[in-house]
């Protein structure tokens, strides 16, 4: 029997749905729900984490993220302008920095700032304690990525914008500050927001610096609670709290990208 093209497409589509439902049913039937809920969804364990999970752990995670982001953004902007400089040594230096820090694991940089530098200069201290070390340790790496993002943003601003500004008598610096950079930042807000999301997750590395109960962040807090209660529920709680930060940010990125798409 010869089937029409439309009929064949329908059969394939229905089969697709059926396979999906079947897989879900098999997983649900095979799972040991009692053990799963005992391990990952223990209400008493979850409740015991609050309010510290939010007032201390989530708060510190956000603080580390913001500190590293502001430091990285500032340094990244400087690096981006250096990469676009007409002075060759500046371009070299910025390129070398970016290639170096994009190539190193964030954890290695964090070790270097947290332990390497203090060992080399025992008589000096990084200001701000663990907060200072995290700002620099995570910010150095973030700056390398953000520099490339910002550079691309600046280059995406049409050349005519700078020319028009210069024609009106603005100096190069004035034209960059008043005309080019504001437009470049509009272009790079979505990728920079992605950078915040990545940084949020990278703050989980901070525990290697040896945090105190006051400076603890989400992942270490969950790990500690897992140890004392001998139950993995805290990991689920910490995971949900990360999503509380990152999901709204992804929504922001999506909304901004939709808006940018409309303006074009």
């Amino acid at each position: 029997m010869k089937l029409s093209r439309r009929r064949r497409q329908r059969i394939v589509r229905v089969a697709g749905y059926l396979v999906f439902v079947l897989v879900i049913l098999v997983v649900v039937a095979a799972a040991d729900w009692g053990r799963l809920s005992d391990a990952f969804f223990r209400g008493d364990v979850a409740r015991s984490m609050f309010p510290e999970a939010i007032t201390v752990a989530l708060r510190n995670t956000i603080i580390y993220t913001l500190l590293a982001f502001v430091f990285g953004l500032t340094l990244g902007l400087v690096l981006a302008l250096m990469r676009l400089s007409s002075i060759l040594p500046y371009r070299w230096a910025a390129t070398a920095y970016i290639e170096l820090f994009r190539g190193l694991p964030a954890l290695l940089v964090l070790f270097m700032v947290g332990y390497g530098i203090p060992l080399a200069f025992p008589d000096r201290e990084i200001p701000g304690g663990v907060y200072g070390s995290v700002t620099i340790g995570l910010g150095l790496t973030a700056a390398a990525y953000m520099a490339e993002t910002i550079r691309a943003g600046i280059q995406a601003v049409p050349k005519g914008q700078l020319e028009a500004a210069r024609t009106l008598g603005m100096s190069h610096t004035r034209a960059m500050v008043s005309i080019v950079l504001p437009q470049a930042f509009r272009i790079v807000i979505p990728p920079l927001t992605n950078e915040i999301i990545l940084l949020t997750k990278d703050t989980s590395l901070v525990y290697v610096l040896g945090v105190t109960p006051a400076t603890i962040e989400l992942t270490k807090f969950a790990g500690d609670t897992l140890n004392t209660r001998v139950n993995p529920t805290p990991l689920v709680v910490a995971g949900l709290l990360y999503l509380v930060i990152t999901l709204p940010l992804s929504q922001v990125v999506r909304a901004l990208e939709r808006r940018a798409g409309r303006e074009r």
Binding site: A164, A165, T167, L168, G169, M170, S178, R186
Partner: protein
């Protein structure tokens, strides 16, 4: 003193020689239209006047100031020269009013009230008073170009440069921009205009300059250049521009097989 005095201007991009020795004067109050085929160097000539392009050699004096002199404060010179671009180049992140005030505020250091007053004056001059709060993306091409003209005029320039101001416009929007330019010319503004609008050049220009292959081929009053061009290259160009439907196949070297 001439507003513009160009002598022996050469400009090369790498091995490509775009301007091959240009001599040109523009007197105060003159409207000089530069016409010629694309690639003839018209735009480059215009962009050399305010040093958007650095001349390879030669001299350019604007109101007596040598712009190619490394000691000249080029930002100060540019303040006195308005420029209008083919692509408008309005600042997309600023409203129409802010487009017209930002250089007044940042460069001329005018106060907000004065800058707003000058902006309103110039927006009314180009017929766009009601668009002050709009963003460039909300305007038609013709409106954007008129804002660009207002933005330049707000700096009280002594000279206006127009780089093919209507070439990026839909045909029905060309007229509104030309009307503004005609008004400016009537007020006595000194203008150097690169254009493909022959009717405008014929009507408004005090002098027409025909360029080809990086050199000025001929120049004179529009009645002469358009009415009885001396050079064969001028005649050929005008024929192709003014009567495009009469360009013959043999003229362009086409060999139709049947």
């Amino acid at each position: 003193m001439s507003t513009i005095e160009i002598t022996g201007l050469h400009k090369s991009f790498g091995k490509l020689e775009v301007l091959r020795g240009i001599d040109l004067r523009v007197e105060p109050g003159e409207v000089v239209c530069v016409i010629g085929p694309s690639g003839s160097g018209k735009s480059t000539l215009l962009r050399c006047v305010n040093l958007l392009e650095e001349p390879t050699s030669g001299s350019i004096r604007v109101a007596g100031v040598e712009v190619t002199d490394p000691d000249t404060d080029i930002d100060a010179v540019r303040r006195g020269i308005g420029m209008v671009f083919q692509q408008f180049n309005l600042f997309g992140h600023l409203t129409v009013r802010e487009n017209v005030t930002i250089a007044q505020r940042r460069v001329l250091k005018r106060g907000r009230a004065e800058a707003d007053r000058v902006a309103a004056e110039n927006l009314s001059r180009v017929g766009l008073t009601d668009k002050a709060a709009s963003y460039p993306a909300q305007l038609s091409g013709g409106q954007q170009q008129r804002v660009a003209i207002a933005r330049a005029l707000a700096m009280d320039p002594k000279l206006m440069l127009f780089d093919e101001p209507t070439s990026a416009l839909d045909p029905e929007l060309v007229g509104e921009v030309l009307a503004v330019m005609r008004g400016l010319a009537a007020e006595g503004m000194t203008m150097l205009v690169v254009t493909h609008e022959m009717a405008f050049a014929r009507e408004v220009a005090s002098r027409v300059v025909f360029m080809d292959a990086g050199a000025i081929v001929e120049q004179g009053p529009p009645a002469e250049v358009f009415g009885k061009p001396r050079e064969a290259r001028t005649r050929e160009f005008l024929h192709r521009v003014l009567e495009p439907t009469h360009v013959s196949e043999t003229e362009i070297g086409a060999h139709l097989t049947d």
